[in-house]
Amino acid sequence: MSQFEAANTLHNCPLSLRTISAAALLMSLGSVAMAGAPDGGRIGYVLTERHWALYQTEGAREECPQGFNIGPREQYDELFPEDSGVERTEVDTRLMREGRRFHRTTADEDPFPFHDAQGTTAYGLNLDGKVSDEDFLSPEGEDGIDNQLHRAIGCISIYRGPDGTFYHFSNLFMYGNAYNRWMIELSGVDDLANDNEVTVTFYRGLDDLVTDASGKGFVAGGTQRVDMRWGQSFIQEVQGSIVDGVLTTQPTDRTKFPWSFPGIGGGFHLFRDFQLKLTLTPKTAEGILAGYVDVEQYNHRLNRNWTTHHQSYGQLSAASLYRAMKRLADGHPDPDTGANTAISAAVDVIMHQVHIVHPGQQSAD
């Protein structure tokens, strides 16, 4: 065939293509168009921002009218004033205080007053389906909101955004450290705006997040491999529904949610009745994770990950917080003692769309 012939053949070929209308192209390229259903009815999102949900007003006037709690250094100064003239040993002072972090007790009364967050407004979900006295009203006006953790930590400055060191660093360590990578995958999605039956699977991921050109924001479209190093213990499937772009999931009995400091293995929170309420777009999922947080595990994680030194940055006294959490705990009573073991809580999250690569699957597929 001469080159002329080749050229003519080619010339004829695309003419048929031109008859395809743009609308048809839109249909045939659903993966890009993202009109209703995501590609294959499946879409993944990876966690890119995460904070304990606190309702904060200007100057904390509404929620902390009595001021903020004091932390380890202030408590130490009060317990062991320098000018007291008393001679003390390391064991009776610093080590005793340090020991309290790990051998938590509510047996004796906290020698320091603890300021719970006040007011009637908090973020969160109605976890128990009831509206009771200690429940909150959401800023949008929904009642029955369960978030007793808000009471416990709302007036500890380390947890408050945007400058609290826990608020800032805990999030930084999440996005900067693949150990904390957490993602969800929706499957069986017919329409990302409305679908009364979708499956949501939780995974840990293995890979770094992809930042934007400023290096500060995150972009959709990255890839995460499923982290199988913990077997199935972090993988969980629940049912959910999407109404007007908002995904709500059925509560799980127990969910392990990774939350660790760099270099400290095994950090996670144990949630009971774990639920998601997320506003979905093809690129992001934003909203709340909520559930009853296991108090012992919360404090175990806190103290393994944050030293007294670091807790002192934001006046977080672990011993006082433990007592407050035990006092405010509102779910999952111990069958033997009847004492509640878990505290209602909510987490603000932003997630970005991500391609999830399952074990044994090639990304190029």
């Binding site: 080619l10 010339h11 839109l26 992809v210 050109a213 479209g221 990255g222 391609h355 090639q362």
Partner: protein, 567 residues
């Protein structure tokens, strides 16, 4: 059907006619050329004095001293001449500030080579005493390094000179290695290393003709195929006469073509041909394309180079198929733009048959490089396709034009097609834009960052386009049309020959180029075959001039007279 094919200009690039009406220009048929045709007689190229590039300098030093030596080398950027930076090596000079930089590199390299970590294996002997000169050991080190640096064996006088310098410095500094370091530093800034001076000699097989001498041929081959100075084996072949003995050139070229260093060499060539030096300064408006980062830009370059090397060398593929292939490699940063998953590192990736992506033109490198920071550009893409892949030149817009005719004041025109229509309706613009814009319009479904889109400002994008008489829909059609364009392989041949010989082909190289084109076609458009044909050709090693002669004042006087009398 309006055809805009032109015969490939024998020299450098051809200017595309920008007149509104183009004459019919016949397609050049290659009929009649077959494998058995011998190479036509051509006068060869000019023997040149070329400045090595930073990459060549780096490659040579890392061959000599191994990968353990950290080489932070940056040379002044050179201008692109007739499509290639390589064509400027024979005219580029070294400014004072650049030489200061090179001196800094030389000092750093020399101190690393002779530090306690490296010298035990980089210096082939131990001095009698480390506190002073040692002639024998210095001679062994400096003659070995000098030969590799200067691409030829050093004369006894030269070795003696360097050894003497090392000796007196060693005495002064009371250290054998410090003396050696100072002498090596001097070698590293020597003009013998920085400039490649090609020398001619009479060709014994063709009386009256000149050819490159053996060392110069070795250098030309090595920079051509490996982008580095000749290795020990090639120098040995030049030194012994083996390179120019019967079958010697074939043996040397085949060894080089089989070496893994060929991939490095061809990466350098393609990087130059694709003008990827531009990637270094490619940035996008981060408010418009937040997903396009520096990593994206560098990965885009890497993706195209890897795709090309894999296709052309590893798979021995048809060059033309590069513009339709759906096989590539993917990185996580690029995957964001392509909208596909990718695992860490580089992984093979194949675009599915219904994907709008196929071939190099649909890769992020081409699409983002030839676009504005905040939007696509039909003109830049069309121009780039013609200049990079068809060796044509699209002229700059004439000066003094009031460009507002093309900037439609009604910003409500949603798509580029509507906005650039003014180009085609304005006679002073239409000539050139008619040859660029229809190409670019077929790539309009890719935004300025290379991402795929179906709409712009809410309007559906019409991606119909044209290239030299072919009309098609979208980028896939463009790739197919380009694949069949006879100028496509001819342009590669021209660039490869030009790259290998260091200058744009002169008019009289025309028959040689025709021969290369025919051979390239006959051998299925395989790059390695093309390299072999060119490297073994007389047109590669034959030269027209002897720089040594030209430097002779009498010769210069004569040539001046002959030029004057010929007027």
């Amino acid at each position: 059907m309006r055809l805009m094919y032109k015969r490939a200009a024998p020299h450098g690039s051809s200017k595309v006619f920008c007149a509104g009406v183009l004459g019919f220009v016949a397609l050049v048929m290659l009929a009649g050329c077959s494998e058995s045709d011998p190479e036509p007689e051509t006068p060869g190229t000019r023997a040149l004095v070329s400045l090595v590039t930073a990459e060549q300098y780096r490659n040579s030093l890392s061959y000599i001293f191994g990968p353990g030596v950290d080489l932070q080398v940056e040379f002044a950027p050179v201008a692109r001449t007739e499509g290639l930076l390589a064509n400027s090596a024979a005219i580029a000079g070294i400014g004072s500030s650049q030489l200061q930089g090179i001196q800094g590199v030389a000092a750093s390299v020399a101190s690393q080579v002779l530090d306690t970590k490296h010298r035990n294996y980089l210096v082939p002997c131990r001095p009698e005493s480390i506190d002073g000169p040692d002639e024998a050991c210095a001679t062994r080190f400096l003659s070995r390094v000098g030969r590799l640096l200067f691409r030829r064996a050093l004369t006894d006088d030269e070795v003696a000179m360097h050894v003497k310098q090392a000796g007196s410095a060693a005495e002064q500094l009371e250290s054998f290695y410090a003396g050696l370091e100072i002498a090596l530093e001097g070698m590293l800034i020597s003009p013998e290393g920085l400039f490649v001076v090609e020398r001619a000699e009479p060709d014994p097989e063709n009386p009256g003709q000149l050819r490159l001498d053996a060392y110069s041929l070795a250098s030309r081959l090595s920079y051509f195929l490996w982008n580095s100075a000749p290795d020990d084996e090639l120098l040995a072949a030049a030194e012994s006469g083996e390179l120019q003995a019967s079958g010697g050139l074939e043996r040397a070229v085949d060894r080089m073509l089989a070496s893994p260093r060929l991939a490095e060499g061809m990466r350098a060539f393609l990087d130059d041909m694709f003008a990827f030096d531009e990637v270094k300064t490619l940035t996008k408006d981060s408010t418009i394309y937040p997903e396009f980062t520096r990593v994206t830009a560098e990965d885009a370059r890497e993706q195209t180079l890897r795709t090309s090397i894999e296709h052309l060398l590893a798979n021995d593929g048809d060059y033309r198929d590069l513009f339709t292939t759906r096989s590539t490699v993917m990185s996580p940063a690029l995957a964001i733009i392509y909208g596909v998953p990718a695992e860490p590192g580089w992984t093979p990736h194949t675009f599915p048959d219904d994907s709008p992506r196929s071939g190099l033109l649909t890769q992020v490198s081409f699409l983002s490089l030839h676009a504005h920071p905040g939007r696509s550009s039909v003109t830049l893409r069309g121009q780039a396709l013609r200049e990079r892949f068809l060796c044509q030149t699209v002229p700059e817009p004439p000066p003094g034009i009031d460009f507002s005719v093309v900037s439609n004041p009604d910003a409500n025109y949603p798509t580029q097609r509507q906005r650039v229509r003014a180009h085609l309706e304005t006679p002073s613009c239409a000539g050139c834009h008619r040859i660029t814009d229809p190409i670019g319009l077929s790539l309009e479904r890719f935004d300025g960052a290379g991402g795929f889109r179906l709409t712009e400002n809410g309007a559906v994008i019409d991606a119909s386009g044209g290239l030299d008489g072919f009309e098609f829909e979208g980028a896939v059609g463009l790739g197919k049309a380009l694949r069949e364009n006879p100028e496509l392989p001819r342009c590669l041949v021209q660039r490869v020959y030009s790259y290998g010989t260091g200058a744009p082909p002169a008019m009289e190289a025309r028959p040689a180029l025709d021969y290369f084109n025919a051979e390239f076609a006959a051998r299925g458009y395989r790059l390695r075959e093309l390299l072999r044909t060119i490297a073994l050709s007389k047109a590669f090693s034959r030269v027209q001039n002897d720089p040594g002669e030209e430097s002779n004042p009498e010769y210069q006087e004569e040539s001046r007279i002959s030029v004057a009398s010929s007027r």
